[in-house]
C-alpha cells in the first residue's frame, strides 16, 4: 500500500518537468536547425564555386594530356599505331581516365545511351557522317600523370583526339560554297590542315587535330573543353653560315677575330647538303658571314681582308671573298621571331626552352649534354649560362645564353644560337672539329642604343674569336638545319568551351 502511494506521488511530480523539458528541447532543436540551415546554405555556395573552378581545370588537364601525348619526343607519346601520320575521319582516339580503383568500364564515351558512363554526345554533332566512328582507339591516361605519389588523379573522364572538318569547327575555313565566309554549308568530309599560320583545306604537312576533354566531378559538375591544335616546327630564319648580329652603333661594333694563319679554318655559305653526313636537295648559297649594317660590314670585311689572313676561306653567295653581307637578313613571313630585335630573340629563346629536350644550367661542359643525343637522334639543348666544349660534337639545336667556348676539335651539326651574352670563343690548339649547319650570335643583353625592341633594349655587340688553328670552321648545311628544326609542340590554334548536356 505504501509503495503504491509513493509511485503515484512520483508520477504526479514529474509531469510538468517532462513537459518543460520537451518544450525547451523543441526550442533548442528549432534554433539548431535554423543555424544548421544557414551554415548549410553557405557550404553549398562555397561548394558550387569550388566545383565550377575545379571542373574547368580538370577538363583543361585532360586537354593538356591529349596535346602532350601527340608529340613524339614525349615519353607517353601515343605512338604511330594509335596515331597514324594522317588521322582519317572516323578514326577517333579516346584517352580514358577512370578514378583510382574504378574499372575502365565506368567510362564509355561511345555508349550514348548511358549517361552514367559519360557519353560523348558532341562527336555525333560534329561528325554526322562518321558517327559512330569506324575506328575507335582507346588508351589509358598516362601513368606518369596519374601515378606520382600523393598527387590527386586529374578528374577528367576522357579526352578525344580526332581529325577536323569545317562542320566540326562550324567555320567555313576557305569561304567556299557561294555564300561567303559567313554562310553555313560547312564541309563534312574534307580534312583541315595548318599552313604554319592559318587553318587550310589545302593539304600541307601539318594536319590540324581536335582535342576535346570532359571534366567531371563527383558532385555532378561537368565541363567540355576543346582545342584545335597543329604541330609546329621552329621557324629559325637562317641568313648566313655565320651571322653576327649587332647594332653597328659607335662603341658597339662587332668583334670578330679570325685565326690569323689557319689553313684549315673556313666559313662557307655554300650549301654542303651531304658534306655534313646527311643528304638532301641543296638550297641556294647564303653569305659566308652576315652582319646587319654597314659599320659592322666595314669592320668584319676589313678584318678578313687586310691584312689578308686568308680571304678566300670565307666563301658563299655571289662568290666574292671574303664573303660578307651587310644585309643578309629579311624577316620572313612564316616566322614569328625577328632576328634583329632583342626582345623577340629573348622570347624566342624562351620558346625554344619550353620545348627543349634538355635545359642545362651553366656553366656546363660537354659531359652535361644529354647522353641520348647522337647523329641519328639530334636534340634541342638550351644552356642557361656558359658552355665549354672540348673534343665534343653535338647534334640538333643548341642555344647558349652565356658564352660558348670550344676547342678546335669540337663542333656541332645543326643550328647553334648564342643569344644572350652573345660571345663565342674558340680556344686551344686542337683542330679538326667543324660546325655543319649555321651559327647565329647575338648580344641581347643590350647596350647598342637606339631602336631595338621592347623594354628599350637594343642589341649589343656580338663577339666571336678564333685562335690558331681554330678547327675546320663553319659550313652552311641545309640538311642539318632541317634536322634541327624538329616539331617542337602541338600549338593551340583555338580554344573554347562546349555545353555538355
Amino acid at each position: 500500500m505504501k509503495a503504491r502511494k509513493k509511485t503515484r506521488r512520483k508520477s504526479e511530480e514529474s509531469g510538468i518537468a517532462l513537459l518543460l523539458s520537451i518544450f525547451v528541447l523543441l526550442l533548442v532543436c528549432v534554433v539548431g536547425i535554423a543555424m544548421l540551415s544557414a551554415s548549410g546554405t553557405e557550404s553549398s555556395l562555397t561548394g558550387n564555386y569550388r566545383s565550377a573552378t575545379a571542373v574547368y581545370y580538370a577538363a583543361l588537364s585532360g586537354l593538356e594530356e591529349g596535346r602532350g601525348r601527340l608529340l613524339p619526343r614525349n615519353p607517353d607519346y601515343l605512338g604511330t599505331t594509335v596515331l597514324p601520320p594522317t588521322l582519317p575521319l572516323g578514326h577517333v582516339i579516346y584517352i580514358k581516365n577512370p578514378l583510382p580503383g574504378d574499372p575502365p568500364s565506368t567510362i564509355d564515351p561511345t555508349n550514348l545511351g548511358n549517361p552514367a558512363t559519360f557519353p560523348d554526345t558532341e562527336y555525333a554533332t560534329e561528325f554526322p557522317g562518321y558517327s559512330p566512328p569506324s575506328n575507335v582507339q582507346i588508351v589509358s591516361s598516362a601513368p606518369t600523370i596519374t601515378s606520382p605519389a600523393n598527387s590527386p588523379n586529374p578528374l577528367y573522364k576522357w579526352v578525344r583526339i580526332n581529325a577536323l572538318t569545317e562542320n566540326a569547327l562550324q567555320i567555313n575555313v576557305n569561304c567556299s560554297g557561294g555564300g561567303g565566309c559567313g554562310s553555313g554549308g560547312f564541309n563534312t568530309n574534307a580534312l583541315i590542315y595548318y599552313d604554319g599560320t592559318n587553318l587550310t583545306r589545302t593539304v600541307t604537312q601539318y594536319q590540324a587535330l581536335e582535342v576535346t576533354a570532359l571534366g567531371a566531378l563527383p558532385d555532378g559538375s561537368r565541363k567540355l573543353l576543346q582545342y584545335v591544335v597543329a604541330t609546329t616546327k621552329l621557324q629559325i630564319p637562317i641568313a648566313a653560315a655565320l651571322t653576327l648580329a649587332g647594332p653597328g652603333t659607335p662603341g658597339y661594333v662587332l668583334s670578330f677575330n679570325p685565326p690569323p694563319s689557319a689553313t684549315s679554318y673556313y666559313i662557307n655559305g655554300n650549301d654542303q647538303s651531304g658534306g655534313g653526313g646527311l643528304a638532301c636537295a641543296p638550297l641556294p648559297a647564303l653569305p659566308g658571314v652576315g652582319v646587319y649594317n654597314a659599320s659592322d660590314y666595314t669592320s668584319i670585311d676589313g678584318t678578313l681582308s687586310t691584312p689578308p689572313p686568308r680571304a678566300g676561306h670565307y666563301t658563299g653567295a655571289g662568290g666574292a671573298t671574303p664573303n660578307v653581307s651587310s644585309s643578309p637578313y629579311v624577316h620572313p613571313s612564316n616566322s614569328t621571331v625577328d632576328m634583329t630585335d632583342p626582345f623577340s630573340l629573348t622570347n624566342f629563346v624562351q620558346t625554344i626552352q619550353g620545348s627543349a629536350d634538355a635545359v642545362v644550367a651553366g656553366p656546363a661542359t660537354g659531359s652535361d649534354m644529354p647522353g641520348a643525343m647522337s647523329f641519328s637522334n639530334p636534340m634541342t639543348v638550351v644552356v642557361n649560362g656558359d658552355l665549354s666544349l672540348s673534343g665534343f660534337t653535338g647534334y640538333g639545336l643548341l642555344v647558349v645564353t652565356g658564352a660558348l667556348t670550344y676547342t678546335g676539335d669540337s663542333g656541332w651539326k645543326g643550328i647553334v644560337l648564342v643569344i644572350g651574352q652573345g660571345a663565342m670563343h674558340e680556344v686551344g690548339s686542337a683542330d679538326g672539329g667543324e660546325f655543319d649547319g649555321a651559327v647565329f650570335v647575338a648580344n641581347t643583353n643590350g647596350g647598342g642604343g637606339g631602336g631595338g625592341g621592347g623594354g628599350g633594349i637594343s642589341l649589343g655587340d656580338a663577339i666571336y674569336t678564333v685562335q690558331n688553328p681554330g678547327g675546320k670552321g663553319i659550313y652552311y648545311d641545309s640538311c642539318w638545319i632541317a634536322q634541327a628544326r624538329r616539331p617542337v609542340s602541338y600549338k593551340v590554334l583555338s580554344f573554347h568551351e562546349i555545353p555538355y548536356p
Binding site: 546554405t41 564555386y49 574547368y56 575555313v173 587550310t200 590554334l493
Partner: protein, 270 residues
C-alpha cells in the same frame, strides 16, 4: 497520518505554481529571444548569401568569358580569304577608339577600355549554335556601385568603335548590384575604416588587373618592367569583386562586405 493529509501533500501550493510559471516564462522568453535572433540572423544571412551568390555567378561568367576570349581567332580561316571582321575575333580584348583593331592603346595610359573597371571581351558566345556564327562584344563596366554587362554582335564594319557601340543603356544592363570596388569617397572611407585590409591604402580596388606577355614570365601590364602593356598582349585577368550585403551586421551595425576573386586566362591566340 490520515488519508486526507496524505492527499493534500500531493498537490501544489500557489507559491509553487507561481514560481513554476515564472521560471517557465523566463525560460520561454530566453528561448524565444534566441529563436528570434537566430531567425533574424538567418534572414540576414540569406540576404547576404543571395548577394554573394549573385556576385559569384557574375564572377564565374566573367572568368568564363575571359577564358573563351578571342574565339574564333583569325587563323581559323585560310590566309588567302577575307572573312568579314565580325566572323572572327580580331583580338581577345577590344579597346576603345577608332584605332581598333589596328593600333592598340596602352593600358593604364590611354585605354578607356580595357581599364580598372571596364573590359570588352571579344568572343563567340555560342559557337555551337546555328549559323551564321558571328562574334560578340561582351562588356563589363562598373558604373558607381553597379556592375553592368552588355552583349552586342560585333560590327561588320572594320572601323567600328567597340567602346562607343557598347556604351548605350540599350546594351548595358545591371548585372551585379552593390559592388564596392570604387564607391564614392565618403563611402570608401567608411568601408576602409571597417575593412582596412580590403582597401589597401584606402584606395579603390581595381576590378580588373591585367597581366601581359613579358620575359621571362607574364607581369602586371602596369609593371614598368613588363615588356608589353597593350590589350593584344594581355594573357590573364584577375577579377576582384567587393560586394556589400543589403543589410548591416545585426549587432554592430557595420556594413557587411565580401571580396570575391577569380582569374581568367586567355588561351586563344590573336
Amino acid at each position: 497520518m490520515s488519508k486526507r493529509d496524505r492527499t493534500r501533500e500531493t498537490g501544489f501550493s500557489l507559491i509553487e505554481l507561481v514560481m513554476a510559471l515564472a521560471i517557465f516564462l523566463i525560460v520561454c522568453g530566453v528561448a524565444f529571444e534566441m529563436l528570434l535572433g537566430a531567425m533574424k540572423r538567418y534572414h540576414d544571412d540569406s540576404q547576404l548569401l543571395n548577394s554573394f551568390q549573385e556576385a559569384r555567378f557574375g564572377l564565374d561568367q566573367m572568368v568564363r568569358d575571359v577564358n573563351d576570349a578571342g574565339f574564333p581567332p583569325r587563323n581559323q580561316f585560310e590566309a588567302g580569304v577575307t572573312p568579314a571582321v565580325n566572323l572572327y575575333a580580331a583580338t581577345a580584348f577590344a579597346w576603345s577608339g577608332t584605332s581598333y583593331p589596328n593600333t592598340p592603346c596602352t593600358i593604364g595610359t590611354n585605354c578607356v577600355t580595357p581599364s580598372d573597371y571596364d573590359l570588352i571581351v571579344e568572343t563567340e558566345i555560342n559557337p555551337n549554335g546555328p549559323a551564321p556564327h558571328t562574334v560578340q562584344w561582351v562588356r563589363y563596366k562598373l558604373i558607381g556601385t553597379t556592375l553592368y554587362r552588355g552583349v552586342l554582335d560585333k560590327s561588320a564594319s572594320p572601323s567600328a568603335d567597340p567602346d562607343a557601340l557598347t556604351s548605350g543603356t540599350d546594351v548595358l544592363v545591371p548585372y551585379v548590384q552593390n559592388v564596392m570596388n570604387n564607391p564614392p569617397a565618403a563611402q570608401l572611407a567608411a568601408l576602409q575604416a571597417v575593412y582596412p585590409a580590403m582597401y589597401p591604402g584606402g584606395n579603390p580596388v581595381p576590378m580588373f588587373q591585367y597581366f601581359c606577355e613579358s620575359v621571362p614570365q607574364p607581369r602586371a601590364c602596369s609593371d614598368p618592367l613588363a615588356s608589353t602593356n597593350d590589350p593584344t598582349h594581355v594573357v590573364g585577368v584577375i577579377i576582384t569583386l567587393i560586394v556589400q550585403a543589403p543589410t548591416t551586421e545585426m549587432q554592430t551595425g557595420v556594413p557587411r562586405l565580401v571580396q570575391l576573386k577569380g582569374q581568367g586566362r586567355r588561351i586563344n591566340p590573336n
